[in-house]
Amino acid sequence: MIGQDGLWTRGFRYLTCLILVVWLIMPLIPLAIWSFARGWFFPDILPKRWTTDAWAYAVSDTAGVLDALWLTIGISLAATVLSILVGVPAGRALGMYKFRGKGVVELMILAPTIVPGIAVVLGIHSVFISLGLTNTVHGVILVHLIPTLPYMTLVMAGIFSNYDPAFEAQARSLGASPLKTFWYVTLPAIMPGIIVGGLFAFLVSWSQYILTLLIGGGRVVTLPLLLFNFATSGRNDITGAIGMIYILPGIIILLLTAKHLSGRSGAVGGFGRI
């Protein structure tokens, strides 16, 4: 009986694993092939001729891909750091304290994950014009916080709802200043949340298109904007090469933080509310 059960579970596990791989990896394969193809037409299974021209163009100065890459990394890192700075205290308040209007605050924080960005960004655009923030990198970073903050805050709220502040009292009592208490006691306890929340914030910022396009006014060219330009102009080979570059940071970050993403980690508990 036990052996049969084990066989079924194992079979099911392999099957889901296979579906996931097909689902996630398969769409990338044509992209990778295109980036090395010189023409690839029906009914050929594979391109007849191969070349690295698209890659050479993608990394050349004229394409501006590398500039866009560094800019996107900078914007996403800045948005992530700001999300952490705002999301940690906000998550602490939501996770640990009861206060009037908490439900409303939670809804407002969740709203950007429900309301489409384009509905909001037009209003923000006019505000940013009067503040002189349009067409600037600062403005783009700021507008990216709209979709990144909900993730950061909810992850931290999940962490803090399982956190015992008595540890901080204990550290104070043993002679630690508030700053040292945060560094030695609070920070290690909430680190998994900061890592997971920061990962989400980075990836959400990394994949912004509409917000960057409208607030950046075409002057702040991030990698998704560039990718879209090539994709709509029909250059599948260059799109493939940039696409490969585009997914790289996500994969690296995922590999680095994989151990914090398991269902047992408290850091992902907050997603129950999304």
């Binding site: 015992d164 008595a166 540890f167 009292a169 204990q170 550290a171 104070r172 009592s173 043993l174 002679g175 630690a176 200043s177 040292k180 030695y184 006691v185 290690p188 306890a189």
Partner: protein, 346 residues
């Protein structure tokens, strides 16, 4: 060497009608081990947090050797609190936990290492320094928490229910450890507990707090023999309260006239005596003999509890099992209440 003086300490939580702690005044002598005893919610943990600086009092003062500490930050007060659930930092090794307070004081790492070693020896867990707290048993965690507090040589040590999470056989071991370390280092120590046995076993003096009010502050045995009121006596397991009048020498009540020890309170009041002090047989001094009916016998192993009736008045007695052999329910028997053990509360 710190004398602790708590003066009219009061805490009213926002929105509460009655104070959580009402006008508590206590003088705790240098090196003394004092218990704050009371049921949960009586204000004892509130008191401790105010001394530790984790909670701001509404009014009153706390002085260490005539120096008010209320304006000082928790980390500068010279007080260390050991919480009931130990709160060992889970991300640090046991040795790092014990050395935490010294590290915060910027002690030289070699010195920290040496003193952590000494401290682990003192709490008799010399080999556990490299482990994580989660790998320790409850009793071991308790000892590490104690070591972590004592290593900074605090002026005042606060313990929150220090024995209540421990098994019966560990309790006495821990009690002896706390007492010996506290005496050796001469640290003035205050602990809170809801368990009168824990208070009596560990403390030099006990302050009983009921509903935010301090009822009595005395050596432990006084609570058994000379409680200030019925609530205090009941908290310490008192059962016999008989209303009547005292003229200073005798007490008139439904039990008849009983001789009192000299110095007894005069006027209307309640006579109380411990069940353990009820004796079987006539009073050798002749005065306080009563005739009782046996209503129930409850065996408690080493002792036997008797429910008796004198006339219509119920009386409880705890006696040696040998004394009641051969007695049956409904039997009539003579008992006496030794004069010296009687106490009148007004």
């Amino acid at each position: 060497m710190t004398h602790v003086s708590i003066q009219s300490l009061t805490k009213v939580y926002p929105g509460a009608d009655t104070p959580a702690l009402d006008n508590l005044s206590l003088e705790i002598a240098t090196g003394e081990l004092t218990a704050l005893l009371g049921p949960s919610g009586c204000g004892k943990t509130t008191t401790m947090k105010m001394i530790a600086g984790l909670l701001e009092p509404t009014s009153g003062d706390v002085r260490f050797n005539d120096r008010s500490i209320l304006r000082e930050k928790p980390e500068n007060r010279g007080v260390v609190m050991v919480f009931q659930n130990y709160l060992l930092f889970p991300y640090m090794s046991v040795a790092d936990n014990v050395g935490f307070g010294l590290k915060m004081r910027k002690t030289d790492p070699a010195e920290i290492k040496r003193r952590v070693g000494e401290m682990l020896d003192l709490v008799k867990l010399p080999d556990l320094g490299d482990r994580k707290p989660s790998a320790l048993s409850g009793g071991q965690q308790q000892r590490i928490a104690l070591a972590r507090a004592l290593i900074v040589q605090p002026e005042v040590l606060l313990l929150d229910e220090p024995l209540s999470n421990l098994d019966a056989h560990l309790r006495f071991e821990m009690r002896d450890l706390i007492r010996s370390l506290q005496q050796e280092m001469g640290i003035t120590t205050i602990f809170v507990t809801h368990d009168q046995e824990e208070a009596v076993v560990l403390a030099d003096r006990v302050a009983l707090i009921l509903d935010g009010q301090m009822k009595q502050y005395d050596a432990a045995n006084v609570f058994y023999n000379r409680p200030v009121d019925e609530a205090t006596a009941r908290f310490f397991g008192g059962h016999n309260f008989i209303a009547g009048t005292s003229d200073g020498g005798t007490f008139s009540s439904p039990l008849g006239r009983l001789s009192l020890p000299s110095g007894a309170t005069k006027g209307a009041g309640k006579l109380t005596f411990r069940p353990e002090n009820v004796r079987i047989g006539p009073d050798p001094e002749g005065d306080n003999t009563l005739t009782a009916h046996l209503v129930d016998i409850i065996y408690l192993g080493t002792q036997t509890r008797l429910k008796l009736r004198v006339g219509d008045t119920p009386v409880e007695a705890v006696v040696n099992p040998n004394d009641v052999e051969g007695l049956n329910l409904g039997d009539q028997m003579q008992i006496h209440l030794p004069k010296a053990t009687l106490w009148v509360i007004s």
